[in-house]
Amino acid sequence: MNTITDEIEGRVAGRGPTETLARRLMRGVGTHNLSLLVALACLVAIFGGMRPDVFFSARNIENIGQGMAILGILATAQTIVIISGGLDISVGAVVGLSTVCIALGVQATDSALVGILFGLVIGAIAGLVNGAIVTIGGVNAVIATLGTMAAFRGVAFIMSDGQSISIFHPLFRQIGSGRILGLQITIEILIAVVAIFFVLMRYTVIGRNIYAIGGNPLVARLAGLNNTGYQIGVYVLSGVAAGLGGLLLAARTGSGQPISGSDGLELQAITAAVLGGCALTGGKGSIVGGVLGVIILGVLNNGMILTSVPTFYQMVARGLLLILAVLVAEQQAKRYS
């Protein structure tokens, strides 16, 4: 009996051609990341070709890096949220709320540490609220975080009385423009966060379980995973990341502003994650892809400024890029199935 089934299934399994080295290599890097690198190279060629003197200058490259710091943190956190099967639209508002809380904390206590802690804790609480509404309340993630986005923004205005609050503590200027070992601190923070997220998603049981829950929550539950706990945890992580984004923003601007973070940060974060290969249905995506998505957005933003594309047109371009990213992803999914 076994020989019969052997033959039948051996035939099924043997249908694919044996893998060549090139194919294995492709699989290692990931075809999606490869195409992102190609897209990035194209962007660099275009903008570099238009403004070769400025674009490739060390200063501009650092500008790109600095411009990406906040987005990079938000986008990689968003990548994790999307992989878990969720979505967090409230991140921009949490960034604004966090800057206000940091500024208020510093103002009240004159301690940078208290201010920073306050900002991060507020981010965590915001994430906890999101997570609870989505998991325990069973509200669709888009609607839940759309609602909390407005609510968090409102709280930021209430707390600050609608005013910008200046931060005079020197540590913030240090974080905003200082350097350690020649590299800007903001970029170093970005690298550290990305590295942690990368390890979390790639090399830990937690990361693997997040993929599982996003891939199919019912399967995950029947495999004994605590879906609710993981999902709330992921939103808290996103909230803390937004709190950290708020710290970087407060450090750069030297103030806490309720309006800050409202310039489409959540849109860009989601765009970068989707560009990076996240499936909005969950269970698929990678931190490396998310980072590549952020770099593409960063280069695009920088290039459009260098080539004097008017601001309003830049907004149109960013919006279309999100649609384009989803379109491409849909086509790939179709071809795949």
């Binding site: 891939g215 539950r221 495999a223 269970g283």
Partner: protein, 515 residues
Amino acid sequence: MPAVVPLSATEPAPPLLALRGVSKRFGVVQALAGIDLDIRAGEVLALVGENGAGKSTMMRIVEGVVPPDTGALIFDGVTREPRRAADAHALGVRVIHQEPDIAPDLSVAENLFMGDLRRTMGLFLDRGDLVRRTLALFDRFGLGGLSPWTRGGDLSAAQRQLLEIMRALRTGVRLLALDEPTSSLTEDETQRLFAIVRQLKAAGVAIVYISHRMHEIRELADRIAILRDGRMVTVQPAADLADEVVLSRMVGRPVNKLFDHATREPGPVVLTLRGVTTRRIRDVSFSVRAGEVVGMAGLVGAGRSETAEAIFGVDPLVSGTVFMDGVPLRLRSPADAIVAGIGFAPEDRKSQALLLKAGVETNITLCVPDLISRAGFLRSGAAHRIARKQADDLRIKTPHLDQLVTKLSGGNQQKVVLGRWLARRPKLLILDEPTRGIDVGTKAEIYALIRHLADAGLAVLIVSSEMPELIGLSDRIVVMAGGRVVGEVARADATEEGILALAMTDNIIPARTDP
């Protein structure tokens, strides 16, 4: 339906649809190779073959969804090239799929006459006309008891299928293909479906009946067409083909006995249910011993899967207790059941068991985080070893362990699910419809595997709607009806008729009014 002249039984009918040299290739897979087949009016043609033999592709070509690479479809003597389903429908060709698309928020009548809803005053839905036409259709096929205004979403699987068939009848069907229509039907519903099939056959409709179930084919088919590897290996009158011949031609070799009936001495009691009650089952008590295979029989909705879910912590207990090795369990979620040594392979592999975006290794090692990590960090070597061991032990056919599970055959997917639990060394394995959608050859292998696991001391609880499978595998069969246990049958005394009679207890005895 157009008027059809009944044909006399003596002269062979001319083919309504003839396939001539139809071939289709998908990438490297030759799905169909030079298929010649006559489908005659007023005849039931059973189409059999293992999964992947090309049955579905053939139906998709007949339905016009997929164009053949070469070959012709000759309908009523005229060569046709249906390019989409609407073309085939215009010719009176309909394929009824296993899961028909029904608009959940429209009524039965609206679903039935979708695209042909008449209006009053050019605007409003003519409900009177709709009901009249719907009831007329119901009458013709003896489908009383279903309200025209039932929501589509409230229909059972059987009712959806009947609705889909009636849709076909409404527009005048001349060739009706049914793709494993009974896989989610109860015995009673199956018999009703058969009555309709016979009625259509008598009215001169050509029927193509795809099934894995031999006794259904025996009951309905005039001729049997056997597909293997995309080739038509046999087309003969059903009376000329013995069951063993059909099976052996499907797999290409003689099929050995599916079940081995050696008796065994079971070990100590592993699982005990005492008075288990949930929203959907009531006062269920039985036990399973180590080394024993216990089957659960019953009609669809009798509470078998619901009992399995209660044991596994999916459905909260209202009262009663589940014991493992004599220790009462506190079941708040599946995690509690898993810790207690229970594994569960649910009914629907794709939506309940497998991570479709992940590979074989990830799927196998999903429930053994402790074995594949140190301080929370994954050790890829350990994961690989565990997956390799299960893949070897269970003879999972996969080119490599990173292969996406969607690329595996149904049987190998089921083995991946089994491997996931066996990697945990469970004490009890619950299998809900373990061979659904799995072809005959692999079925036999899964049966042997289950037997082997029981011999090694595992307690096994099986839910199955396939009676021969249940009787062949189980040492003991617990019969359920209406959410209760209505009887227990030892293998020696088990017959399909006896179990069915028990399973229908609830329909015979008037509902009891317990407090």
